[in-house]
Symmetry: C2
Subunit: 242 residues, 2 copies
């Protein structure tokens, strides 16, 4: 039986052996939601980098760049971290350099994995169906908030665990924790998350519409996948493999 595990924070990643695993990187508010939107709206590729400096180098090299720190667009870059910014027609066919507070760091730290894909509520069922076709064990990597576990990423991990639990055994207790959280919150995730620290922080930035959208399941059937350091859409051939 395949195994599933949840890494509650990138700070715990050193405890995982990623070799042979498929990693689903999760940063619901808002990096991996934005990546999903971007691919669905025709962006050709996203280069995830951990630092603002690397992102600035990409800008100097001519890329459109997206940078967020502490919930706000970082100065000097083209796009921030609102999913609606990634629906614009000028981005079609472009490759974007992107750095975010938590999400791109999680990607940088999981390079040993067999494959790295991007998950969000927006492509929830597509991700579950894709994992179903693969023989690999799975690690759901929550980006968290500055090293701490957060509610929204754990919630999404729980939603995936709920869709996959019949096919996978649980490697540790973390999938149980995530699934219990999801079962408690699924009827009204927005209200549930309003008590959480990160969502409070974002509410203060007046991005309630972003949050609502990022919690809406199954808006798209695209999966961003990391290839040679660039996130690109998983092709139809790959998604229908096996």
């Amino acid at each position: 039986m395949k195994q599933i595990d949840v890494c509650l924070s990138p700070e715990l990643l050193h405890l995982f052996d990623m070799r042979g695993k498929v990693v689903v990187v999760i940063d619901i508010l808002r990096a991996t939601s934005c990546m999903t939107v971007a691919m669905a709206h025709g962006v050709a590729g996203i280069i995830p980098v951990a630092s603002l400096e690397e992102c600035m180098e990409l800008k100097a090299a001519g890329y459109i760049t997206a940078a967020e720190r502490d919930g706000k667009k970082a100065e000097g870059f083209d796009i921030g971290n609102s999913p609606f910014s990634y629906m614009e027609s000028y981005l079609v066919g472009q490759t974007i350099g992107m750095t975010t507070t938590n999400g791109t760091t999680a990607i940088a730290r999981s390079r040993e994995a067999e494959q790295i894909i991007v998950g969000s509520f927006l492509n929830l069922t597509t991700v579950a169906e894709y994992l179903h076709t693969l023989p690999n064990d799975v690690v759901l990597l929550c980006s968290g908030w500055k090293g701490m576990a957060n509610a929204e990423d754990t919630l999404y991990a729980g939603a995936l665990v709920a869709l996959l639990e019949n096919e996978y055994s649980f490697a540790t207790d973390a999938p149980i924790l995530a699934k219990v959280l999801y079962d408690s919150a699924k009827e009204d995730m927005l209200t549930f998350l309003s008590a959480s620290s990160h969502v409070s922080r974002l509410h203060n930035l007046n991005i309630t519409e972003d949050i609502k959208f990022c919690l809406t399941p199954d808006q798209y059937s695209v999966i961003p996948v990391l290839k040679d350091g660039v996130l690109v859409p998983l092709t139809p051939i790959e998604t229908s493999a096996n």
Copy 2:
């Protein structure tokens, strides 16, 4: 308002500023349950050490020693990790050297805190009432399993959060995660935990009676507290302070 936080694993401890905080160390199966039992049954002190080597040095120095690795008594020591072993009359007035897989490491890593106390279901309400009397922020430190979060320690953290939430704000999302887990499991914790990895491991070692006992709330009103590197019972003067 005082703040409460939950550290889901000692591997996340470096993210916490422990100065001025009271830390409740949690290793339900079974280190902190054993420590509670020992103090309640007249043990004078417990010296928690991280390694088997340090514990062997204490044995050589004449102490009674307790050592557990991977759920079993380590060879060459006097006592293992069953709470019932700590009820024996020959231990009254003695000081014990103790090392366990996860619990004593958690204590060793939180030395910067203002005060370190030991929590278990066995002294649940007493711990909550004691924290209530203190002005300090609180960190509930789950020992986990080899660096990973585990269900039983998170469950106990959630039980404490449920008792304390009216007086404390949540520092991160981890107290929410813990409380949701507790709310889901509280009606039948043993059945809930039977799905967890650590409890399965322990069931294989035939220690179901230990597990049942460790999940029983409020058997004792003693709190072990760390003083100069030794766990001793909190005195009645301290427990009735303020």
